[in-house]
Symmetry: C2
Subunit: 392 residues, 2 copies
């Protein structure tokens, strides 16, 4: 049979990163984005799940409502307000199956085929592919060292038709590592309101700050109901349980909830109960401090190794948090060739063009991750990258 | 801000059933579709999860690949072949976050706004809303006591433009309870191939047979690569863990996998490991027999009560399995009025029009569920329905 796929999906390729990781085998995974396993609160989770299945097994195993487990919604609403400074009476919050689902629900609710999504360039491939799958035209806006270029953003808002939202990761952006300045956050918000376009603010890494000061979320300025805020527990609890949340104007949340019904009915109750009980019964702050120490040490290690082994071949800005270092290979080095030779030598890094709105564009960047590999892997992996660079 | 929702979502309402259930409180839930809590293998799950978090915590908590946990895919592929008689070398299989996600992934991969989906009428509201949310035009095909009307189906295939797939629940259809005959299954398959249209075969209830003989799945005839087969563990293990699977031609599975990456990256590993270990280490057949006994008894109880209390007011065909009884109120009874008065009297049933392609159409049917209420709830609930009917 000849299959007639939908327009947005027909040309879509699997994520380059996930494909690299699937075939990685013995490769040192500098391409991945997995949190460090020693950052998972395994003992807490074991205890919580044991208690839940002992005391409330039917709650954990029966259908739940699409919005999520009531007490968790209440807790997250509090946390959003007190810890992240976001959310008003005009907003609602629902639990989702990982923050990726926020991208998916927002796409399903807003994108008609051919609509435009403005995204930072470079940006997170999982989000870009999601928007593409709904037939969105992706238009990239360059990112400087303090965030998206405001002049370029306004230019696109003026000229592009049917812009549905601006997608941004303001903290330790994936892949660039850039944190958007307060001034630019306010400017993005003001432009969104001025042009009647939503902002989709994705904040999976906000708690992983290892240097500098927290900057208020774009959602914290939101009086006009223009911002959809996405939160994740993948990096601070565990990604395998797939729990995130979305905070947005009530009218938008109502639509996202209907979309969630159509996607997976609800997020697994066991996963929701793990997060709920972890937030209410365990040492949240202590755990965040612990994982910040882990990531601070691993970031230092990667940067030290890169400076030593690759200093002659690339430049980068040191991020203040997150999981990635985004580095520009010197002119004259063929980026794709470098990535291929690295892979052949046993180290995976992600070719930067994967993060562009148009992946065919020329790009000199690579993304390196420091959370997934062991410390030994980082040392050995970057050493091999140095050898590859010298061999070119 | 004025929100510009996507076409398919703009007019979409939340599921009538989920809204009824959310506000149900003390109501006797004959409207629900929850499996009976005593049908959950609670002790098995408790033991499995304890062992997994003791022995393989990082496997359970780290990111996994979008296709699903490898050993589970292998096990499900075997099970599909040996138990359900479906799947060939030309097919692939991935794990999904409950069978609802099969509807969602299939919609995302196939439906352009304005495309047509042919569905049995009546049919499962969760699937219909999903197709609607992607902008599908739903066209209903009537269901007789032995399944979809083949003449009407061919008529629609001839006349409707851009038909993407035929959606069918061949076993104990929700809501009608009807099981499609072998002859009709073959005819549906032949028509699909003849007109180059896919079949989406949804089989959440297949193991819940309490009378009669199993009928081969439509997918079992599939030599042309025309059938997407959806399986679920919500009714035989537990719905709250959200695990199902989809078996389809390899080219289709590749697209569904990409779509799954964009929706939720992967199904939670704990949920996948529960199903994997339950299938490999626990007494599958024994458990199925146990839950069949539970549902057989509860179906008998509901039918006995309905015959006694409502025999003068409605007619129905006794289903051979599943979770629902679909009953036609006698002419002269106002169906919506009956449902409203039942709700006011403390019993929820679902108004039949909720299951139609066009929910504004006139309908004399109600759907009653026997798995969610307790035995006492069934007796008391139907008694109240009898009083309501007599009062009209």
């Amino acid at each position: 049979m000849e299959y007639k796929f939908a327009q947005g999906v027909a040309s879509l390729k699997p994520s380059v990163i996930r494909e690299i990781l699937k075939s990685s085998g013995n490769t040192i995974p500098l391409a991945a984005g997995n949190p460090a396993p020693d950052a998972f609160p395994v003992d807490d989770i074991r205890k919580i799940v044991g208690e839940v299945l002992e005391n409330e097994p039917i709650l954990a195993l029966q259908y739940g409502i699409s919005e999520g487990y009531g007490p968790l919604i209440k807790k997250l609403t509090e946390l959003a307000k007190t810890r992240y400074g976001v959310g008003t009476e005009a907003d609602g919050l629902i639990v989702v199956s990982g923050a990726q689902q926020v991208m998916s629900l927002t796409s399903q609710c807003f994108i008609n085929s051919g609509d435009c999504v403005l995204c930072e360039e470079p940006s997170f491939i999982g989000a870009l592919n999601c928007f593409r799958s709904y037939g969105a035209r992706l238009v990239g806006v360059p990112v400087d060292s303090d965030g998206i270029r405001i002049d370029a953003l306004e230019e696109k808002l003026k000229t592009e038709k049917n812009v549905k939202f601006i997608y941004t990761i303001p903290n330790f952006q994936n892949p660039s590592g850039v944190t958007m300045s307060l001034e630019k956050r306010k400017a993005v918000y003001d432009l969104a309101v001025k042009y009647g376009v939503m902002v989709l603010e994705d904040n999976p890494y906000g708690d992983l700050r290892v240097a500098g000061e927290d900057v208020p979320a774009i959602k914290s300025f939101d009086e006009a109901g223009a911002v959809i805020y996405s939160g994740s527990f993948s990096k601070i609890v565990a990604p395998g349980i797939r729990v995130g949340f979305v905070l947005a104007p009530a009218e938008v949340i109502a639509k996202l909830t209907v979309a969630k019904q159509t996607q997976d009915v609800h997020t697994p109750l066991i996963s929701q109960l793990i997060v709920y009980k972890w937030l209410t019964e365990c040492d949240f702050e202590g755990h965040i401090n612990k994982i910040r120490e882990i990531y601070s040490r691993k970031l230092d290690l990667l940067c030290d190794c890169v400076d030593k082994e690759l200093g002659d071949f690339l430049t980068y800005n040191r991020p203040e948090g997150g999981l990635f270092v985004w580095a520009k290979l010197n002119d004259g080095i063929d980026m794709l060739d470098f990535c291929r030779k690295a892979s052949a030598a046993g180290v995976s890094v992600v070719p930067g063009n994967a993060f562009l709105a148009d992946t065919e564009e020329k790009c000199q960047y690579i993304r390196m991750n420091f959370s997934t590999p062991t410390d030994e892997g980082i040392v050995k992996g970057v050493k091999i990258l140095g050898e590859v660079a010298r061999s070119l």
